[in-house]
């Protein structure tokens, strides 16, 4: 009873968005995310005050996980963005900048929250409609007949993460590797149901990036007792493989909690070992060449198998089981008491040794065109290697998303400026019925439109480096960055690289206003975009950002349980 204490009343905060402390925190988060955005974004080093692991990153999924926020409103934003990046891998910072921009601009322009929410919802619908239309000029169709656009897409992901510390040549090399592994994971003409392949990423520290490579098949740790000379007889040809998922260590671990009664004169360990050896005999009789197990194999069995020239791989681990099944067509054998059914055997085309730096790896070659490959990533130190690994996974995910929606959006801030220009133009002629249905006046709508478009443009503005200017051209509404070194001279090319500079172009700084115009499509251009963003990821990020901004604008008070 002495432990029982009364619950303290909750703390009530009224109108949190008017609170200066909350505003400060929102601004700070805004500064953190917008300064990390893009290929020239600043890296953030995160460490806690008692020492420990230091993280250097500019990736939203890593960064937001590391920063601990206590303010409930900010927590709402960060969890929403982390959830988004978990699903789509990309555009987390885009969503964060946009969301904070929307909140900020609604407050700055002194919009009533209910009006802001309605207008934002209305404009989001307009954006979604426009982006799904065929005549939308922000998007590019991905054609799988050439991999140029795919490489561009992967390269955009990789170069937008400066914490990988890659030179442009290295970035290009890694993006080509990612595309290669992606293409390998798409099965060719397999009959029946198409099942996606997979890429296993292996990382090796201390080697140069150029040593990274993609291999068909799987690379596993070299078994300790295996000599590379023994592998010479596994040249091209078909070899049988058996794969166990149960422990072959000879213990009775599978029994679990049950009590065991042992009759006099019975030796359970001996019995299990006998059973194991029977299995060994069967596999030798069936001419199995590779004997693999997820868990530990009894040394006696190992010895027996090795004597008969079978390659033994133990402790594969759960993560590799499915790739091995997919690669070889084997089925996991779970019981050691019944003979291995013949259909459970898998096949490989050969075995060889790969050396990478100090490590030796055993390479299982696929027998057919199974879509399993291994990506070996090398980098100079652990921190950058971690980031590179995350980024490569993201890039491959982004490429996979194109299979569902074969589109990409123009990168380099051009999509944002284009969308903003389109929204500004179309909302000029909003029908009065639409306004009365929403219950707002025209001037309120225009204020809301301005807030929305400025927020979109603020994402494009985050791309500039210190001392640069962002410009928008008044015919195609693309985003242009001015020269860094020579002040006052015009821009070189637009953010996505689709438009070349022409003599009759007019620019205006992005953060000043301009008269609404309908962005013109680009005709007879031969150039390919140099920067592309994932379509699905960006569309979802846009939706999430607006939804969260609306949610936060709607919050009238915070009740905090302080028990």
């Amino acid at each position: 009873m002495s432990r029982l204490c009364k619950k303290k009343p909750s703390v009530f905060t009224d109108d949190p968005l008017a609170n200066s402390q909350v505003c400060q925190k929102l601004t700070l988060l805004g500064r953190i995310v917008s300064s990390s955005y893009g290929p020239h974004g600043g890296l953030k080093q995160v460490h806690n005050n008692v020492g420990g692991h230091v993280v250097t990153t500019s990736t939203s999924s890593v960064l937001l996980k590391e920063i601990q926020v206590s303010e409930p409103l900010l927590k709402l934003i960060t969890t929403a963005i982390l959830n988004h990046t978990e699903r789509f891998s990309e555009c987390g910072l885009f969503a964060a900048i946009l969301c904070l921009g929307l909140i900020n601009n609604a407050k700055r322009l002194d919009l009533r929250t209910s009006v802001a929410i309605k207008v934002y919802n209305h404009l989001l619908e307009a954006c979604n409609r426009y982006l799904s239309e065929d005549k939308c000029i922000c998007k590019v169709q991905i054609e799988f007949s050439s991999c140029q656009l795919l490489v561009t897409l992967a390269q955009t992901v990789i170069t937008s993460k400066p914490a990988c510390m890659l030179t442009s040549k290295e970035a290009q090399y890694v993006s080509s590797l990612v595309v290669q592994s992606f293409l390998r994971s798409v099965p060719c003409d397999s009959p029946g149901k198409v099942c996606f392949g997979r890429t296993v990423i292996l990382s090796i520290e201390g080697e140069s990036v150029e040593d990274s490579a993609v291999f068909p098949g799987l690379l596993v740790e070299m078994p300790e007792m295996l000599r590379s000379a023994e592998l010479e007889r596994y040249g091209p040809g078909l070899y049988k493989l058996v794969l166990f998922s149960t422990s072959l260590a000879g213990d009775l671990s599978e029994i679990g909690e049950a009590t065991i009664e042992i009759h006099a004169g019975v030796n359970p360990e001996g019995m299990v070992l006998d059973q194991l050896l029977k299995l060994g005999e069967q596999t030798v009789r069936d001419e199995v060449s590779v004997f693999a197990c997820q868990k530990v194999i009894h040394p006696v069995l190992q010895q027996y198998l090795r004597e008969h020239g079978v390659v033994v791989i133990e402790r594969l681990g759960r993560a590799l089981m499915e790739p091995v099944c997919q690669l070889t067509g084997a089925q996991e054998v779970a019981s050691l008491y019944s003979p291995v059914p013949p259909e459970a055997y898998g096949q490989i085309r050969g075995l060889c040794v790969r050396r990478c730096g100090s490590r030796e790896l055993l390479h299982l070659l696929p027998s057919g065109d199974q879509a399993v490959s291994t990506m070996l990533l090398c980098h100079r130190n652990e921190t950058v290697l971690d980031e590179l690994k995350v980024v490569c996974k993201k890039a491959e995910h982004v490429l996979r998303l194109t299979l569902k929606d074969p589109w990409a959006l123009l990168g380099g801030g051009c999509t944002e400026t284009l969308l903003a220009a389109y929204i500004r133009h179309t909302s000029q002629g909003t029908h009065p019925d639409v306004l009365s249905a929403m219950g707002i006046s025209r001037s309120e709508l225009l204020l809301g439109v301005d807030a929305f478009c400025r927020s979109l443009e603020s994402v494009a503005l985050s791309l500039r480096q210190h001392g640069q200017d962002c410009l928008i051209d008044l015919s195609h509404a693309h985003n242009w960055l001015s020269h860094l070194d020579t002040q006052g001279s015009g821009p070189v090319s637009c953010g996505c690289g689709l438009i070349e500079i022409k003599s009759d172009m007019n620019w205006t700084p992005l953060n000043t206003g301009y008269d609404p115009f309908l962005p013109a499509p680009i005709t007879n251009s031969t150039s390919q975009p140099r920067v592309l963003d994932s379509f699905s990821a960006k569309v979802n990020a846009l939706n999430v950002a607006v939804e969260i901004a609306n949610l936060i604008l709607d919050v009238k008070c915070i009740i905090r349980d302080v028990n």
Binding site: K118, A258, S335, V555
Partner: protein, 588 residues
């Protein structure tokens, strides 16, 4: 050690007033929401009055008593907690005003207030039903088109959107309303019964799946049931197959007997399994639904024999499948429960995989699952709460239908004929009629808040009072229509012995439309629809019709319950004359 705190009306009023100030921020479709952080650190967003009050961890004993009353009311109707506080506060204020003018001392006024409150409760018990039948139900319409309870999408949508609009942001509310209508209509599969509502209400926790990280627009209603787990062994089945439900491991140690380590024990266990396999094959079972983890050998067998397996299913999910399957389910002596599933799919959404099985549409229900997506878990939770509340409310609305036990020829045929039904085909805007004498008109001259002024010359028209009873599942437009009608009835008719209390209640009721109207840019819609109603029922053209399809509706029975609950709460509060704070010292 005790500290005595005298409680007079003022004290109660100040407590309720404080609560009211919190509530007013969130009332109606234009109110805001409250972000609530738990002591565990989780965040949660809500607009539900009862949840906000609970979250406040109220300290004052009077406030806790109010919360208790609100929770009791919420359990009954899942609606009206915010209106509850506003109405209670205004009512107490009126009582205070009346009692203070006559008496000097606190005790005197307290006694008078108590007497008034008792009178009000008595009135609500004796007369309120009659008042509603005479003056509110004639203006209401029935939710259902036919007697059996078949409901049209339009009518359902209005009822649900009226509920959801006050609890979610505008865009989300629209989407969720559509989803809930879909869920209901697909679950009923066109049948005209109200059992599906009971089914949905009681089983909703199993009939939805949450997906964080996607935008809310990607939510949808799926046929069949989505289990909380993924297939351990996945084989897609397009055609109906038999499924076996397992509650224990099929392995050798399953039954809990000790393992006897004599010769060949392992082989024997293997042999026993073989027998089970043969039995499964002979029964043509191709799906295993297990509540526990199965040993690897079972999975391996399934892999080789084209059988899908899902492990660690929630037992309540299996019970639900068993319950829905009805005629398609059989019990096998040795193996257990066997049902038929129409398909087995793997649902891959938002980075998670779930087992997805289809079930035969059995008599009253066809199982469907609501897949809810939202960017954050907090928002998801809010949506779930709103869905649960909406279903409770629906169930409450349909209660009269459930209670109907009369044979068909006696079930108020006349009533059904005359029951006005929501008209879905007409889409015209509300007709303006300012010349109507009997309609209350807005008086803008006095202050900015809308005050309703009645012309004195017309008595209320008791239409349909002889039709034999109130409308079944009656609904009225939202936004204070019920309160206005009741106010009208109470202030014009004289009820013997209750004159003063009726006047009090009538005045207090006005606070609700006033509060709702404060946020509204277009105040005129409310009286307009009211006068429209009046005109039609007076003419007796066979029922009132809501002219605009955009009008959301709310249930009259929930509203009636609200008035009763508020009056009871007021009595409870006024009966308290002192609070004793006892200081308890704990012995170490």
């Amino acid at each position: 050690m005790c500290v005595k705190e005298c409680v007079c009306v003022d004290a109660s009023l100040s407590v309720v007033g404080a609560l009211e100030r919190v509530m007013r921020r969130c009332v109606g479709p234009h109110g805001g929401s409250v972000l609530f952080t738990r002591d565990s650190g989780g965040t949660f967003i809500t607009r539900q009055g009862q949840q906000i009050l609970t979250a406040l961890n109220l300290d004052h004993p009077m406030a806790r008593m109010v919360l208790e009353c609100v929770c009791t009311h919420y359990l009954l109707t899942a609606d009206g907690s915010k209106t509850f506080i506003i109405l209670l506060s205004t009512l107490l204020q009126r009582i205070r005003d009346v009692t203070h003018t006559h008496r000097k001392t606190c005790l005197d006024s307290m006694a008078a207030a108590r007497q008034l409150a008792h009178q009000l409760v008595e009135f609500s018990r004796v007369e309120l039903d009659d008042v509603l039948v005479r003056s509110v139900f004639p203006h209401a319409s029935s939710l259902f088109r036919s007697q059996g309870g078949a409901v049209e999408r339009g009518a359902l949508q209005r009822l649900i959107s009226g509920y959801v609009a006050g609890r979610l942001g505008s865009g989300q509310a629209e989407l969720l309303t559509g989803l809930l209508c879909d869920l209901y209509l697909k679950t009923t599969c066109g049948a005209s019964t109200v059992q599906p509502i009971q089914f949905l209400h009681s089983q909703f926790s199993l009939l939805h799946t949450l997906v964080p990280g996607l935008s809310i627009g990607q939510s949808l209603v799926l046929e069949g049931l989505v289990l909380s787990r993924d297939w351990s062994v996945w084989k897609e089945k397009e055609e109906p197959v038999r499924a076996l439900m397992l509650c224990e491991s099929m392995g050798m140690v399953a039954s809990g007997v000790s393992v006897c380590a004599h010769q060949d024990w392992a082989q024997r266990a293997e042999f026993m399994l073989e027998q089970v396999w043969e039995r499964l094959m002979s029964l043509q079972v191709h799906v295993l639904l297990s509540t526990v983890r199965q040993p690897q050998c079972v999975l391996q067998w399934a892999e080789l024999n084209d059988t899908a397996v899902v492990e660690c299913v929630d037992p309540t999910e299996l019970d639900l499948i068993w319950q829905i399957s009805g005629a398609h389910a059989v019990t096998h002596q040795a193996l257990g429960r066997i049902v038929t599933v129409t398909f087995c799919k793997r649902l891959q959404v938002g980075g998670c995989r779930y087992a997805h099985v289809g079930l035969h549409p059995a008599a009253p229900v066809h199982a469907h699952t609501l897949l809810l997506c939202a960017p954050t878990p907090g928002l998801l939770q809010q949506c779930v709460c709103v869905c649960e509340g909406a279903l409770t409310m629906l169930q409450r609305v349909c209660q009269p239908l459930l209670r109907q036990t009369l044979p068909p020829h006696q079930t108020r045929n006349s009533d059904v004929c005359q029951t006005p039904v929501l008209n879905h085909s007409q889409n015209t805007s509300p007709v303006l009629d300012h010349s109507q004498n009997s309609s209350p008109v807005l008086d803008h001259s006095q202050n900015s808040s809308p005050v309703l002024k009645h012309s004195q010359n017309t008595p209320p028209v008791p239409a349909q009072s002889d039709s034999g009873g109130p409308v079944v599942c009656a609904v009225l437009p939202v936004g204070g229509m019920f309160e206005l009608l009741l106010h009208d009835a109470l202030s014009h008719a004289s009820y013997h012995g209750y004159t003063e209390s009726c006047r009090l209640l009538a005045e207090a009721l006005l606070s609700v439309p006033r509060t709702l109207g404060l946020h509204k840019p277009h105040l005129q819609t409310l009286p307009r629809s009211l006068c429209n109603q009046r005109q039609q029922s007076a003419v007796g053209s066979g029922g009132s019709e809501f002219r605009s399809s955009l009008v959301c509706v709310e249930s009259v029975s929930c509203k009636q319950q609200l008035v009763v609950s508020v009056l009871e709460c007021a009595v409870r509060m006024l009966c308290v004359s002192a609070v004793l704070h006892t200081a308890v010292t704990y012995s170490p």
